[in-house]
């Protein structure tokens, strides 16, 4: 088995056993920062290698995906799940946005198999973080004057996650290759080890969602599994339509399937405080994240290859 996945399972088991194992916050923060910077830089390096032409359709496609996904999730949560309006809107926003940890697992999975992916994927990751937040706020309160959109934008764009991804992208883009070689040992060679440590902590955090899950029951579990499957289909189709490589299609499917557990919760806590944060975290962190990491990636690979065969006849 891939040790990276074993680290996640180990964290999950330790957490469920209520062990005292815990990563110091500073270590977890440091590890997350490294991942975000590295993912950004990997993207930036590739972008520098090829013409910038033709990225606009990809960006618009990713934007659209980020807008549509919460619109699919919202009525389901409201009608079937019988959640309050604000809670349905907040959960929907989580699923329209993306998870960088999940994306990192996807990258590691492709790297382990030597499958390349499209340079712009890191950029699309950034693009997909934001729109669902706006949709979520609109769903919750309409075009209410109360919403301080400037505030929301500041909170999201100046948040740690997007800053590091964009910063990494720009650094990767503008750096000379020899310069990059000198920082490769820290940012690139350690990538998978750092991801392992990150997943250990994610396992521990996932375990803390168990009690919320028990309380809020089966519907959230079902939603947390079905919604990513729906997302992965849409993501695959968009990837194929955009003509991405197989690796790129997988990553877009994974982005669509993943749910935010950092940027969106933080934005919702400030902009939509009436929404219960434990609901959305239980779903995105307690169900969807482990589902994607443990079994989702190969499923989406299979799915995207099947769809490719169907549509391209290849």
């Amino acid at each position: 088995m891939d040790p990276v996945i074993l680290f996640f399972l180990f964290g999950l088991a330790a957490g469920l056993m209520k062990s005292e194992l815990r990563l110091p916050t500073a270590v977890y923060d440091g590890v997350s920062m490294l991942l975000l910077l590295t993912i950004g830089m990997k993207g930036g390096v590739e972008l520098a290698r090829q013409p910038f032409l033709g990225l606009l359709p990809d960006i618009l496609g990713a934007l659209a995906l980020g807008l549509i996904l919460p619109l699919i999730a919202f009525p389901v949560l409201l009608k079937l799940g019988r959640f309050k309006r604000v809670d349905a809107a907040s959960i929907a926003a989580h699923y329209g946005s993306v998870s960088v940890g999940t994306f990192a697992v996807g990258i590691a999975w492709l790297e382990a198999r030597g499958i390349p992916w499209d340079a712009q994927m890191a950029l699309l990751l950034v693009v997909m973080e934001v729109p669902a937040i706006l949709v979520g706020l609109l769903l919750a309160r309409g075009l209410s004057k109360e919403t301080q959109w400037g505030e929301v934008a500041r909170e999201v764009f100046l948040g740690k996650g997007i800053m590091l991804l964009l910063g990494g992208l720009l650094i990767g883009w503008l750096s000379d290759p020899e310069g990059l070689d000198a920082i490769r040992p820290l940012f690139f060679d350690l990538f998978k080890g750092v991801l392992a440590i990150f997943l250990l902590e994610m396992g521990l955090i996932t375990a803390t969602q168990a009690s919320s899950l028990k309380r809020y029951g089966l519907f959230l579990i079902g939603f947390g599994i079905v919604m990513p499957l729906v997302g992965s289909v849409l993501g695959s189709l968009l990837g194929l339509a955009l003509g991405l490589t197989p690796g790129g299609v997988l990553l877009l499917a994974l982005l669509a399937a993943s749910a935010s557990y950092i940027a969106v919760p933080a934005a919702m806590r400030i902009s939509l405080p009436q929404a219960n944060p434990t609901l959305s975290l239980a779903a995105s962190l307690g169900v969807t994240f482990p589902f994607n990491v443990l079994v989702g990636v190969p499923i989406y690979w299979q799915l995207s290859e099947t769809l490719r065969a169907l549509f391209t006849g290849a």
Binding site: R22, T25, Y28, D29, E201, L204, I205, T208, I262, P265, A266, R269, I270, P273, Q274, P277, T278, L281
Partner: protein, 109 residues
């Protein structure tokens, strides 16, 4: 130290979610606090365990010293604005500040 010579100085202590650190700082500026002190904390209350295990689950401990009127105004504002939707507890106590001059709006400073 007779009550008529000095206005009562109060210490306001607020325990609440880390997510509110920036908004509270803005509020304090608007509401006329002369200063504040923040430290990190964790805890448990009516809204469950807040373990500081990860970013979103920690608390902060905010302290504001000031004359009674200002401090009560701040406390009431925070309660009204945040209490319903955030983990938060607020308490007041009497303190004696050395060089309290800067907190007594009427005469000095």
């Amino acid at each position: 130290m007779s009550p008529e010579s000095k206005p009562q100085i109060k210490l306001l202590t607020v325990i609440t979610e880390t997510a509110l650190e920036h908004p509270l700082q803005r509020d304090l500026r608007t509401l006329g606090a002369k200063g504040y002190t923040i430290s990190d904390a964790r805890g448990k209350g009516s809204r469950g365990q807040r373990d500081a295990d990860w970013e979103a689950s920690g608390n902060i401990r905010l302290e504001v010293v000031g004359d009674e009127a200002t401090v009560r105004r701040i406390a009431e504002h925070l309660q009204q604005r945040y209490y319903d939707n955030y983990a938060m507890i607020i308490w007041l106590s009497d303190v004696e500040v050395l060089r309290p001059g800067k907190f007594s709006t009427p005469s000095s400073s």
